[in-house]
Amino acid sequence: MTELSLETHGLTRENLLAIDYFLRLTRTLEERLVALFRQAKVIGGLYRSLGQEGESVAAAYALDYKQGDVVQPLIRNMGSILVAGAKPSDIIKQYMAKADSPTRGRELNIHFGHPDRDGFIGQISMLGDMIPVMAGITLAGRMQKRNLVGMAFIGDGASSTGAFYEGMNFATVQRLPLVVILENNGYAYSTPTAKQSAVKTLADKAHAFGCASEVVDGNDVLATYAAAKRAVDRARAGEGVTLIEAKTFRIKGHAEHDNQAYVPSALIEEWSAKDPVVRFEKALVDAGLAATSDFDAIQARVRSEVDTATDEAERSPMPRPEEAALGLFAGDGYWGKG
C-alpha cells in the first residue's frame, strides 16, 4: 500500500478537520445504531460501512451543495449524506421508524432526501435504478441552467444490473454532469467480485460507455477526494460522466445478521490494517497538519452530537396508524404543498 499523499489538493486545515469530523461522525453514528439495533430499537436491518467511510465522505466532500449539487448514497454511504447536510437525528429516526423522521416512518434507513431541497436523494432498494434517476436529475439541472453536478454511489454487485448500464450509457451519450463512484468492496452480499464480473478492473466498464474513468484507493481519503474533485470539475466544465472505481473492503458482513463466514479472515485482517480513518489521521499528524488533541476534540463533539441526536430520536413518537392511508397522491395534501 502506498503511503498517503501529503498533497492536500487545495483543502485547507479547516477542510481536513471537517473531513475528519464527518469520518468520525459516520463511524460513531453507525456504532450507536449497532447499539440501538441490539436493543431492538432499530427496526429492520443494519448495514455497516466500517472501513469504507473514507470514500463515502471524501467523494461527497468534492461536491458543492450551495451550487445545488446532489449526492445519491447507497446503503453503505451514510457518510456522504452527512457531508451533504443530513442530520444525525433524522438518520436515527429513520432507523427507528419514527413519526417525525423525514419519511414519517414510511421508509427505512437512509432512503430519504429530496435532490433539490436536501442536496441528496435516498436510493430505492432495486439496485442500479438510481443511476438513470441521477441522469435525470443532472439532465434537469442542465435544462434549468444550474450548473450542478450529481454524484452517484454504486456497488460492485449493483454494477451488474441493466439499470446501471442503461443509466451510464444515457448519461454519457448526453454528456451529463455525473460522477459515479463504483465502490469495489470485494463482495456483493456473499458473492465475491470475481463471480460478479470477469473484468480485471471494474473501472473498465467505462469503456462500454466511452466515459472517463479512474481507479482510486478508496481507503486513501485524500486520493479519493482528489479523484472525485477532478471528476466533479470535469462534469461542471461540461465534459460529461466519470466512473471512479474506489477499491475498498467491507469489514463487516452484508448486514448485522451476517457473520460473513464466507470471507477469508486474512482479507479482513489485511484491510483492517488499512483503516481509512486511521490512515488519514496519521497522515495529517505526520504532515504536521493536526495533532491527536484535534481528533479528541472532534470525537468529543461527535459523541455529544450523536448523544443529543439519539435522545431526540428516542423521544420521538411512532407514527399514528391513521396516517398509513395518506399521501399517495397530491390530492390529500398530506405532505403539504409540492
Binding site: E107, H114, D116, D129, L139, G162, A163, L328, F329
Partner: protein
C-alpha cells in the same frame, strides 16, 4: 374548428403544454427528427429543439428513470414508449421508484408515460398490449385511456399538469381512424371522471379506449331491439369514477364491463368487484365481463379477431342479462 385526428390531438396537447410551461419536455426513442414511430411528435423538434425533444438510446429504464429524476427536480417530463408494450422493460422503475416516490418520501414525481397500445392492427403478441391491469395493484400511478380525440387531448393536458405520475394509454387503432372537431381554446378533461356516452335505462355497458365504439355499436343494435343501453366511457382507470358506475347500475340494474385486455385479472375485475360490493341491492342479474381471451394477442387476423372482444359477444352478454 379544424378536424383533428386522435394522434394529432395528442401531438397538439404536447405542443400546447410545452409552449405554456417550460418545464415540460418529451423524451423517448426516435421522437426527435423522425417525429416518433407514429409521427406523434412530428415537427416538435423544430419548434422546441433537441434540448426539449430528446432522442434516447433503446433504454426504457433510462427513459423512465431519467424522466423521474427530472420530475423530482421540478420538470414535467413526457416519456414516450415506442409501443406501450415496452413499458414492461421499465416496469421496475415505474412501479417501484416513480409510483412510490410521494408516498414513501414525500417527493412529487410527476411524469407522464405515454405510448401506443391496443390490438386490432395485427401487431402480434408484442405490439398489441393493453397494459392497465399490470399497474393497478401497484399504488401510486394514475392510469388514463382515452377513446376520443377530445379526451386524448384533454386528458393528456390534465396528465401533464398533474402532480403525480400518469400512465397515458393511447390506442393506436384510433390514431388516424378517429377525427373530431376540437375546441380551439385550451381545455382539460379531469382525471377520474367518466363520460356517459349514451344514456339508457335497461342495461349499462362500462368500457374505455377503443372498445367505446364497440359499445356504441352494440347499444345501437340493442336500441333496434327496443333495449335502451347506457354506455359509460370510463376514460380514467386509476382513479376511476366509482360514483358514475354505481349511479348507472342503480338505474339500469344490469351491467356489462367491456375491455380489450384479457379477462382474467383485467381492470374489469376491479369494477365488477366494486359493483358486487357496493351496488349489490341494485343488481337484477349477474355482473358480466366481456374481454379478450386469456392469451397473448395472436398475430393472424382470424385469431386476433377471435381473441379480442367484439360486438357479437357484447350483444350475447346483453341478451343473456336481459333475459335474466
Amino acid at each position: 374548428m379544424p378536424v383533428t385526428t386522435y394522434v394529432d390531438a395528442i401531438r397538439e396537447a404536447m405542443i400546447e403544454e410545452m409552449r405554456r410551461d417550460p418545464r415540460v419536455f418529451l423524451i423517448g426513442e426516435d421522437v426527435g427528427s423522425y417525429g416518433g414511430a407514429f409521427k406523434t411528435s412530428a415537427g416538435m423538434i423544430d419548434e422546441f429543439g433537441p434540448g426539449r425533444v430528446i432522442d434516447t438510446p433503446i433504454s426504457e429504464v433510462a427513459i423512465v428513470g431519467a424522466a423521474s429524476g427530472a420530475a423530482l427536480m421540478g420538470m414535467r417530463p413526457i416519456a414516450e414508449m415506442q409501443f406501450i408494450d415496452f413499458i414492461t422493460c421499465a416496469y421496475d422503475m415505474l412501479v417501484n421508484f416513480t409510483a412510490t416516490s410521494r408516498y414513501r418520501v414525500g417527493s412529487s414525481c410527476p411524469i407522464v408515460v405515454r405510448g401506443p397500445a391496443g390490438g386490432g392492427t395485427h401487431g402480434g403478441p408484442f405490439h398489441s398490449l393493453n397494459p392497465e391491469a399490470m399497474f393497478m395493484n401497484r399504488p401510486g400511478i394514475k392510469i388514463v385511456a382515452p377513446g376520443t380525440a377530445y379526451d386524448a387531448k384533454g386528458l393528456l393536458k390534465a396528465a401533464i399538469r398533474d402532480d403525480d405520475p400518469v400512465l397515458f394509454i393511447e390506442h393506436k387503432f384510433l390514431y388516424r381512424r378517429i377525427k373530431e372537431d376540437l375546441p380551439s381554446e385550451d381545455y382539460v378533461v379531469p382525471i377520474g371522471k367518466a363520460n356517459v356516452r349514451r344514456t339508457g335505462k335497461d342495461i349499462t355497458i362500462i368500457t374505455w379506449g377503443a372498445m367505446i365504439y364497440v359499445a356504441d355499436d352494440a347499444a345501437a343494435d340493442l336500441a333496434n331491439d327496443g333495449v335502451s343501453a347506457e354506455v359509460i366511457d370510463l376514460r380514467s382507470i386509476i382513479p376511476f369514477d366509482e360514483e358514475a358506475i354505481l349511479n348507472s347500475v342503480a338505474k339500469t340494474n344490469r351491467v356489462i364491463i367491456l375491455h380489450e385486455a384479457p379477462l382474467t385479472g383485467g381492470a374489469g375485475a376491479e369494477f365488477a368487484a366494486r359493483i358486487a360490493e357496493k351496488a349489490f341491492d341494485y343488481l337484477d342479474a349477474p355482473v358480466k365481463r366481456v374481454a379478450a381471451l386469456d392469451v397473448p394477442t395472436p398475430y393472424s387476423p382470424p385469431l386476433e379477431a377471435a381473441a379480442l372482444p367484439d360486438k357479437a359477444r357484447v350483444l350475447a352478454a346483453a341478451r343473456e342479462l336481459l333475459r335474466y
